[in-house]
């Protein structure tokens, strides 16, 4: 019931925020510009020369139009330049593309005034790996910061991507070498990233099938207990491992099975209490009493 209330509250808040921002969403609506009527008079750059200039508008000023549309030569018009498109995560520099297209705007803008179709992009970008890497499309490091945008605004991704793209990393291919999502040599580097969870490893890797199975092959799992001093850089590691475990439990479970910890952390043996900050016994018992019974057997505190 509380979950439903929270969900409803979230929904109302989101709608309210969205409505509050709605006025900002309104843009100047202009009729499609009759490019065909102007095409014979001058080239694209006469009006859109600003696309190659930083900070310049890609559209002409109304005074430029008024040179002809003054009410005498041509009918006067009330035209306002279209607002620039919001910056997106897609990198695009007109200058470089114009250069590559030998100043032929129509190479991409097949229909004047229309955005290029996907086909126009791929005609060039499929020519080489150097033109088709994620960093070319989105800039460097986008892979590490795409999650928030992908979750909040998936439609911006869907303009070019399907979910199969996501699976390339979220279901990693075991035969893919590095660099892939991770940089080259990540196998040597991964303890650092894993201990501190720079990224959420389990978004793409199953800790049991991926981490534990490999550690098992390498003799790094703790089948038989942790008393054999693998963590030899710390004196008395076993006596003070609690802090490291609560900080990086996901790393611990990549080598240790539940049974390793239950030898001490169980009401049935050892009796060392593992519960720490934020632990809500009543709540968890209500949600899943089976978890409690692993350590407490049939004598779960607060039951019966």
């Amino acid at each position: 019931m509380r979950a439903i209330k929270l969900l409803a509250l979230l929904a109302v808040t989101t709608v309210a925020v969205g409505m509050g921002w709605a006025p900002l969403a309104s843009v100047v609506i202009s009729k499609p510009f009759p490019h065909d009527k102007h095409a014979g008079l001058f080239g694209c750059d006469a009006c859109h020369g600003g696309v190659t200039q930083p900070d310049a508008s890609p559209y002409p000023q109304p005074t430029f139009c008024a040179a002809c549309h003054d009410g005498n030569l041509q009918p006067a018009i009330d035209w306002t330049p279209t607002e620039p498109r919001p910056q997106s995560n897609l990198r695009f520099e007109h200058g470089r593309h114009i250069e590559a297209a030998s100043n032929e705007c129509a190479d991409c803008h097949v229909v004047a005034g229309e955005l290029p179709m996907a086909g126009q992009c791929r005609d060039c970008h499929s020519k080489s790996e150097a033109l088709n890497s994620p960093s070319v499309w989105h800039g460097s490091d986008f892979r590490n910061r795409h999650s928030a945008e992908a979750a909040a605004a998936p439609e911006t991704c869907a303009g070019c991507h399907v979910r199969g793209d996501c699976l390339e990393c979220h279901q990693p291919n075991p035969a893919t070498g590095s660099p892939g999502y991770h940089p080259a040599n990540f196998l040597s580097e991964h303890p650092t990233a894993a201990y501190t969870r720079e990224l959420s490893c389990s978004d793409c890797h199953n800790v049991r099938s991926f981490c534990a199975s490999c550690h098992l092959q390498a003799g790094l799992t703790a089948i038989g207990g942790i008393g054999s001093r693998y963590h030899d850089a710390k004196q008395n590691f076993i006596a003070g491992h609690g802090q490291a475990a609560r900080q990086s439990l996901e790393s611990c479970v990549a080598c240790h099975a539940e049974s390793d910890c239950l030898r001490c952390h169980s009401a049935l043996s050892g009796r060392v209490n593992p519960h720490g900050p934020g632990f809500d016994a009543d709540r968890l018992r209500d949600k899943n009493p089976s978890m409690c019974s692993v350590c407490h057997g049939s004598s779960i505190p607060g039951v019966g």
Partner: protein, 504 residues
């Protein structure tokens, strides 16, 4: 035997993939095959009679051949770790990504992604090839302007991560697609893999494992305006046998563009089952005009999450809080200079002890540059430092790509990594050098191969240091085919974009 199995599964997969669209009006597929030759080394635990070890000056014990031994008082045998065997793996994986449409119903499409993999070595030393056939996705999709419905093996991508299930998903987008209402449900897959939690491949340590797949149900509400994107989502997983919860969470995301060059995004999740706020983040990004640069600053909080059928949640893992920033600038055409950094600190664990000191905070920093202002060349260089809990690393790398023709590119890469571990004496200095070739044939077939050399020096005060020097080899082949014109090897995602759909 393994090779014949692989060939058989490949053949079946291709036949299935090709057979499906026979009666359809169109299909598009991509076959991607990759091979990797890799090796790694770990440790083997061993024991020795307590009478056969010697006491050193600092009070520790060494075996006769120089290994540090663990000898608690009164034991008959001491234990120690020897370098383990050199494990060599040769995983081969073929992936078929296919899409077919034109079943007589406008908007109906079949999407599948199947992976066939095996390890050509005698032992499966490299994770991910068990089981040999894995259905990553396979669903029927019906799309209309304001509706997307899917049935089969599919996923949802939310703040909770990438969640897979066998079931149905529907997304309704009324009000000109400004509102999105999402609902889904079915039998869940395990996290980070396209296998059910009951799969034997997910239990290498012989731990407790659920007998039944969890049921999953979720709902979401999203808003899409030109400057505001928002989403709230709820997801619950239930063990059908006991009817206990496996997880129960809500989350929200918000993405705003208060100005044309500023984006503010963030979100948070709340664990309803544990009553704890989970992972959250907020950031603001400024994008300079004409690709001149980008600045991002933000804060985030990371809290690990464990399914409730494990005991790990009861061990009270604590979150860390971090502040981060990144800056990239393009001072001249073709040059990008970038840097990023993050500092973080864990919440109090209430478990610290005077018996040992464990780091509870850390920082990381990266600096890099890329230049592609020359016609056929691209250069990159980078340096990073990561210092914190468990281990630290310092690295340097350089990369150069030469593209003499439209079909061929050659990349050279060199890297150095220095990495000590905090919890185990094991300092490593790894240098790697690689050469990679990418070649695209006229027919759209793409080939690539990479050879990489690792030279590693490990430092320990006893004999348990091991060498990781090795050669690695990667090779890949991909091929697109279908009823629509080939796109020169571009990824099928791009190829499936309906013509006329503008790039934002």
């Amino acid at each position: 035997m393994k090779s014949s199995k692989l060939l058989a599964t490949l053949a079946v997969g291709i036949v299935v993939t090709w057979a499906a669209p026979v009666s359809a009006q169109g299909y598009r597929a991509r076959l991607d095959a990759r091979y990797q030759g890799i090796s790694y080394r770990g440790y083997s635990i061993d024991s020795v009679l307590a009478a056969d070890v010697r006491l050193t000056g600092d009070g520790s014990f060494l075996t006769a051949d120089g290994y540090a031994a663990y000898c608690p008082a009164g034991v008959e045998y001491c234990t120690f770790y020897r370098p383990g065997p050199d494990l060599r793996g040769h995983p081969v994986v073929a992936t078929v990504d296919a899409s077919a449409w034109g079943f007589g119903v406008s908007g109906l499409r079949l999407n599948t992604k199947v992976r066939f993999g095996t390890d050509l070595s005698k032992a499966d030393v490299w994770p991910g090839t068990d089981p040999e056939v894995q259905l990553l996705e396979g669903y029927l999709e019906y799309t209309q302007r304001s509706l997307v419905a899917q049935a089969g093996r599919t996923h949802v991508a939310t703040r909770f991560g990438w969640t897979g299930f066998d079931g149905v998903k529907a997304e309704v987008m009324p009000l000109g697609r400004k509102l999105r209402v999402l609902g889904y449900g079915g039998w869940g897959l395990a996290r980070g893999v396209a296998l059910p939690v009951t799969s034997g491949a997910l239990n290498p340590l012989d731990e407790f494992q659920p007998r039944d797949r969890q049921l999953i149900v979720g709902a979401g509400l999203g808003l899409s305006f030109s400057q505001v994107f928002g989403q709230a989502i709820w997801q619950r997983e239930i063990d059908p046998e006991s009817e206990n919860l496996v997880s129960d969470r809500v989350a929200f995301d918000l993405d705003l563009s208060p100005a044309s060059n500023i984006t503010v995004s963030g979100g948070a999740e709340y664990d309803v089952a544990a009553g704890l706020w989970g992972t959250a983040d907020a950031s603001a990004t400024y994008i300079a005009p004409r690709g001149m640069g980008r600045l991002t600053v933000g804060a985030r909080r990371y809290r690990p999450r464990f399914d409730l059928w494990t005991i790990w949640g009861a061990f009270s893992p604590v979150p860390y809080n971090a502040g981060f920033g990144s800056l990239s600038i393009s001072p001249i055409g073709g040059l990008e200079v970038r840097t990023s950094g993050e500092i973080y600190e864990f919440d109090d664990t209430e478990a610290s002890t005077r018996l040992q000191q464990v780091e509870s905070d850390g920082w990381r920093w990266k600096l890099g540059a890329a230049y592609n202002g020359l016609r056929a060349w691209r250069f990159e260089a980078g340096h990073w430092v990561d210092e914190g809990l468990g281990s630290r690393s310092v690295g340097y790398e350089g990369l150069a790509t030469f593209t003499p023709t439209e079909a061929l590119s050659v990349t050279g890469h060199a890297q150095r990594l220095q990495r000590p571990l905090e919890f185990r004496f094991n300092e490593a200095d790894v240098r790697s050098y690689a050469l990679r070739f990418d070649y695209r044939t006229v027919g759209g077939v793409r080939l690539n191969a990479e050879v990489r050399r690792y030279d590693e020096v490990r430092q320990r005060s006893d004999a348990a240091r091991l060498s990781w020097d090795q050669w690695r080899l990667n090779a890949g082949l991909s091929f697109d085919f279908g009823t629509t014109p080939r796109g020169g090897g571009l990824h099928p995602a791009i190829l499936r974009i309906p013509e006329g759909r503008g790039v934002r």
